[in-house]
């Protein structure tokens, strides 16, 4: 593994390996002394063109727990045209000797460009690009599911997952569909037709427009609620649904739907949540919710990714 740009970069063996390494990393995080010397002398740059305190903090903690030097580079609000600033920023980071660049960018594919345009030699980790992918989020979701549903080992063969909400704009959904399928899980996407991309039929998952029917038919082991921006009902924003109330009624996870879930079904959300829109407070705070745990697992998963990308031989073989 040279970069982590898409969940599709991982085959089943590689995905399980990341999760296994994450288990070991999680074990180290239960110790009193959480810091490991593993990546001493390596530099990890967090290059965030969009605000995301939670993701940046998670990567920062992961890198620091492995003793890497961390440089936080917030490029948001730069007045330069975004294209110029991505390349120029990359060249700057290259000059600073970045071994890994963790990039969050509003443009789909920006991490691909960073990895392949020859601007930097470091390993590139996609920390969320536009409406494309967010592979480490999918890994931590898979890790969380494996922990709860498969005792923390192996793959997710046969696990049934329902993913609900704004799939069209969700990088989390794209990465999850790919990774969960790779790991053997069965994914059903539930959304109004307006919030599903044209071409979703080619994805390795089932698609439904009816949440109650999907929950009843699939009897999911995990229900993942995606964030929905209320503004998307505005015509200027695309007019994807008539009102927040109607969305919530048809696709939100409220008390009644929560009660109808199977006894051991877990409720997930990648955050940040719109309480009252896609998820009710009852659901978010219920015992079956893994939402807080997902955040914690994020550090272990990101440690694993950084370890696998950076702890081995340098590309080109020079030590």
């Amino acid at each position: 593994m040279r970069h982590l740009l898409s969940a599709a970069d991982l085959d089943a063996a590689a995905a399980v390996r990341v999760l296994d390494v994450a288990e070991e990393m999680a074990a180290t995080q239960r110790r009193e002394i959480k810091k490991l010397p593993t990546l001493r002398g390596r530099t990890v740059v967090n290059l965030f063109f969009e605000d995301s305190t939670r993701t940046r903090t998670s990567f920062e903690a992961a890198a620091k727990r492995l003793s890497a030097d961390v440089i936080n580079f917030s490029a948001k609000g730069s007045s330069v045209s975004k294209g110029e600033s991505l390349k120029d920023t990359a060249l700057t980071l290259e000059a600073m000797g970045a071994d890994a660049v963790v990039v969050r960018h509003g443009a789909s594919g920006a991490p691909h460009r960073l990895a392949h345009a020859g601007w930097t030699r470091g390993a590139v980790v996609n920390a969320g690009d536009g409406t494309h992918e967010h592979p480490t989020q999918a890994l931590l979701d898979a890790y969380t599911m494996r922990k709860h549903l498969r005792g923390g080992t192996g793959d997710l063969a046969g696990v049934r997952v329902v993913v609900v909400g704004d799939v069209l704009h969700s990088r989390v959904a794209r990465s999850n569909v790919l990774l969960l399928h790779t790991l053997g899980a069965h994914v059903t996407l539930v959304a109004p037709p307006t919030l599903l991309p044209v071409g979703v039929q080619a994805w390795p998952c089932a698609v439904s427009h009816h949440l109650d029917a999907a929950l009843a038919d699939v009897a999911p082991d995990a229900v993942m609620m995606l964030r929905v921006q209320a503004e998307r009902m505005d015509a200027a924003q695309g007019g994807f649904f008539p009102s927040a109330r109607e969305y919530s009624r048809r696709y939100g996870l409220g008390r009644e739907r929560l009660a109808a879930l199977g006894e051991r079904t877990i409720v997930m959300h990648p955050g940040p949540m719109n309480r009252g829109l896609e998820i009710s407070a009852d659901a978010a705070d219920s015992a079956r919710s893994t939402i807080v745990e997902q955040v914690g697992n994020g550090v272990a998963v990101r440690m694993a990714v950084l370890y696998l990308l950076l702890a081995g031989e340098l590309p080109g073989g020079h030590a």
Binding site: D20, V21, E24, A27, T28, R31, I33, K35, L36, P37, T38, L66, Y307, L308, A311, G312, E313, L314, A319
Partner: protein, 199 residues
């Protein structure tokens, strides 16, 4: 990774130095030495270094128990993330670290490994140990000491001293992992024979 490497270098090609009962005798001797130097089994904690140190530590603990009639805890200490040569090799697999329930504070920790070579593994193990607690004493027991130290480290208990050339490769086979007990030495020149080479 290391399993694949092992298959790439069948030990049958090498010279067998210890076999079957020899290995078990060496373990038994180390057990006796340990009891003698520690004046009994009190406070002993055995920590094997993956991979082959772990089953060796378990055997040693069993032997100690048989001789002394008391339970000696054994565990595993993975030192991968403490290595100083991570960037010289493909990404290494991690193994679990399992400390006995009583922990290691104020205990007599015996690090157990199969082959002592450069000493770098033990250096990493001492670093790792440091993050888990503060033992009263740390000792080192190895099945084979093949020389060529690169650090000021020595073993307290050695099953067999084995003068080798640094181009040679020393492999320890254990019943638990390999189906039989043996110590095999193969001539050098095989590139990639790092399994025992970096110890």
């Amino acid at each position: 990774m290391s399993a694949a490497q092992d298959q790439a270098h069948p030990p049958e090609q090498g010279r067998v130095l210890l076999e079957g009962a020899d290995v078990q005798r060496a373990v038994t001797r180390i057990a006796h030495e340990l009891l003698e130097s520690n004046k009994g089994a009190d406070d002993l904690v055995l920590l094997g270094i993956p991979r082959r140190g772990v089953p060796l530590a378990r055997r040693l603990a069993r032997r100690l128990g048989e001789v002394e009639g008391s339970h000696v805890p054994a565990g595993a200490l993975d030192i991968t993330m403490y290595r100083d040569d991570l960037r010289r090799h493909p990404t290494r697999e991690l193994s679990p670290t399992e400390l006995p329930p009583g922990g290691i504070d104020d205990k007599v920790v015996v690090l157990v490994d199969d082959v002592l070579y450069s000493g770098r593994t033990i250096r990493a193990a001492l670093d790792a140990l440091n993050d888990f607690g503060r033992p009263r004493v740390v000792r080192l027991a190895v099945l084979v000491d093949r020389g060529h130290r690169e650090l000021p480290i020595r073993a307290d208990h050695v099953g067999k001293n084995l003068p080798t050339s640094s181009s040679e490769r020393v492999r320890v086979l254990l019943e638990e992992l390999d189906g039989r007990d043996a110590v095999v030495i193969t001539p050098g020149g095989t590139p990639g024979g790092t399994g025992g080479g970096a110890r």
